[in-house]
């Protein structure tokens, strides 16, 4: 065994460095900390870069960029941009998708966590999760050639004849329905299929985290299984389910390719669900690579900034809600 005799004093920085490296643990810990900080830095850097890169557009258009207008302008030639039609398109399609997806997803989650026989649970879980694994462009392709003509067009025509002439909601269902079916309704339906796995997975986990004694107490009082689900389990997990819904909304807001392929991409004043439109993500996807002026690309980045901010807030709220349910339930009380 060789003995190392240091000629340097104990407090010298080289001695310290040698000890720091030779033991290795503090070095290892610092490497881990730096890697962890990287992931956090990316989130902050995204916000900061988009904010910086959209400076001119923010100065030029101010808050008028975001506010609702009757005659929105998106004019790359005269450099006049307003984002309202895209914000409206995103919100309308996402909320429409949410309204359809919530009952279906909660239903599936109930089936998977409460009713399904054990041997069927895993395969069904997988099938629902595979729905999320199919690439978005494949949804889009299928949407254009199969879903729009076969499903969306008939439903859109039906909605138009049923509600199109009503006084208040009529503007939401105004026609004419485009011949190929490309419309905000088509985008909403595709989004529904795409967010069902997200909402289902989180809702199922929330339901599974509810202590068994809640179910047993309710059944012992004579409730039917459905009454147990409806009056005990769903209220108990409500904030977690709300979190799941918000996560789904976040996914719907940011979904790009499939929506761009089926929404018809047109800027027009109509507020109708049955007319083609644009979403924030799809205008960026369509125009950014070919932006004609600096202000044009900056306006698109500003739309990206708004989108980032919206999903950021939604994600934070959703995570807090889901965490609250998880914390409320003590570990030992779970099934």
């Amino acid at each position: 065994m060789t003995k190392y005799i240091s000629v340097l004093p104990e407090t010298h920085w080289l001695t310290r460095l040698r000890r720091f490296i030779s033991h290795g643990d503090s070095l290892w810990q610092w490497i881990l900390i730096i890697a962890s900080l990287l992931a956090l830095t990316i989130v902050l850097a995204i916000g900061w870069m988009l904010w910086r890169e959209s400076a001119d557009a923010r100065n030029a258009f101010g808050f008028g960029f975001l506010t609702p207008t009757a005659n929105p302008s998106w004019d790359p030639v005269n450099n006049n941009f307003q984002a309202w039609p895209f914000i409206y398109g995103t919100l309308l399609t996402s909320f429409a998708a949410l309204i359809i997806a919530i009952p279906i997803s909660v239903g599936i989650a109930i089936f998977l966590s409460e009713l399904c026989p054990a041997w069927l649970r895993l395969p069904l879980n997988w099938l629902v999760e595979l729905l999320a694994a199919i690439p978005s462009v494949v949804y889009g392709l299928w949407g254009i050639f199969v879903f729009l003509p076969l499903v969306v067009s008939p439903i859109a025509n039906g909605l138009f004849t049923a509600f199109g002439s009503l006084p208040v909601v009529g503007s939401l269902f105004a026609g004419p329905v485009p011949a190929n079916g490309a419309s905000r309704l088509g985008a909403a339906f595709i989004l529904t299929i795409m967010i069902i796995p997200t909402i289902t997975a989180v809702t199922r986990d929330v339901l599974l985290a509810i202590p068994a004694n809640q179910r047993e107490a309710s059944l012992a009082l004579g409730s039917t299984q459905w009454e147990t689900i409806w009056q005990v389990l769903l209220p108990y997990g409500l904030s977690g389910i709300l979190g799941a819904v918000i996560l789904g909304l976040g996914r719907a807001l940011g979904e790009t390719m499939a929506v761009t392929m089926v929404i018809g991409n047109s800027i027009e004043g109509s507020a109708s669900l049955l007319r083609p439109g644009y979403t924030m993500a799809s205008i960026i996807a369509n125009e950014f690579a070919e932006a004609v002026s600096k202000l044009h690309s900056q306006a698109l980045i500003e739309i990206g900034l708004i989108l980032f901010f919206m999903t950021l807030v939604l994600n934070i709220v959703a995570r807090l809600l889901v965490w609250r349910v998880a914390r409320k339930t003590p570990q030992e009380a779970r099934v």
Binding site: L32, V43, A45, L50, I134, P135, W226, G304
Partner: protein
């Protein structure tokens, strides 16, 4: 009086209980119907894409690059190569930091940074992929002055990072504490325990997590739209043979592979599907088939693997 009252209650109860039973049966079966309803599109999409894509797929499709617009034939070799290059770059960028961050998250879950990391990962996984594309454009494409496979890979890496951190963390947490403690008790430092005891024990699951992240990234289009941009003349084979013929160094050849715009399968699908040429639309169905089968197969294999692993670890 009391008997009449009793009779009324009983009658009421009978009616009520019949109603409650019907509601119960109806709602419970409704949840089953909803499950079927949600799974229907999956089979519809998978079936239709196999049916359509199967008609147009052939050997040329895999070994030729694109022919000029309007000409029949040709393949998507450029896109397959581009997908491989971009996903490989993304894996190289995302796996090392993701792995280390997962070590931190699994080892110190309750420190401030641990909580912040989990929160940050969740938030990052919720950022729309198109926004990540914009970010990569601002920090890489703009300073470099041109679109490139490198920028595409970096954007993909940011998208993969949260998936990698989360799945790796879960797999590391499954490793029994006794293993770590045994190693520490034998006098091994923390880092050696992590690298040569905990990590090998979790290796299978961790690799599966990487596969899932890669499969997810391979199907993404939005982050590539203005980073890799697309390039129908991308041909790695030609770059390499030309490079060797001109006696270029290895770095120069790599530079040429990574430094020019590249295509990828989803990007090709998106572009072809919007063109008015029937042969391009046929090819886009074939691309969809390849892409979908790849993603689904990786997903199914990875899940089977994880499931068997979990069973073994949990006994």
């Amino acid at each position: 009086m009391t008997s009449r009252f009793k009779e009324l209650i009983e009658k009421n109860q009978a009616r009520l209980s019949a109603r409650r039973k019907t509601v119960n049966a109806a709602m419970l079966s409704l949840t089953g119907v909803m499950t079927l309803l949600a799974i229907l599109p999956l089979f519809w999409i998978v079936g239709y894409v196999i049916y359509k894509g199967g008609q147009y797929i052939n050997v040329d499709f895999f070994i030729h690059t694109a022919r000029p617009l309007g000409m029949a034939g040709g393949g998507v070799l450029h896109a397959i190569e581009g997908t491989l290059v971009i996903t490989l770059l993304a894996a190289v960028f995302a796996i090392p930091p993701g792995l280390l961050a997962a070590f931190y998250a699994a080892r110190y879950p309750n420190t401030t940074l641990g909580v912040a990391l989990r929160f940050g990962t969740d938030v990052l996984s919720g950022v729309p992929s198109i926004v990540i594309g914009l970010f990569a454009y601002a920090v890489i494409v703009k300073p470099m002055g041109h679109y490139s496979a490198f920028a595409g890979g970096a954007a993909m890496a940011m998208l993969m990072l949260p998936t990698i951190i989360r799945t790796t963390e879960e797999m590391l947490k499954l490793v029994p504490h006794a293993l770590r403690e045994g190693s520490l008790a034998l006098g091994a430092p923390e880092w050696k325990t992590s690298i040569s005891v905990v990590f090998p024990a979790a290796l299978n699951g961790v690799v599966t997590g990487f596969l899932l992240a890669i499969a997810r990234a391979a199907g993404e289009t939005a982050p590539l739209l203005f980073t890799a941009l697309g390039n129908e003349r991308y041909d790695v084979g030609k770059i390499v043979t030309n490079g060797i013929a001109q006696k270029q160094s290895l770095f120069q050849i790599f530079g040429r592979i990574f430094d020019q715009p590249a295509d990828s399968l989803p990007l090709t699908l998106w572009k072809y599907a919007q063109q008015p040429y029937p042969e391009r639309i046929q090819q886009s169905w074939a691309v969809a088939l390849v892409l979908m089968l790849f993603v689904l197969l990786v997903n199914i294999i990875a899940r089977l693997w994880i499931e068997s692993r979990k069973r073994r670890l949990q006994g």
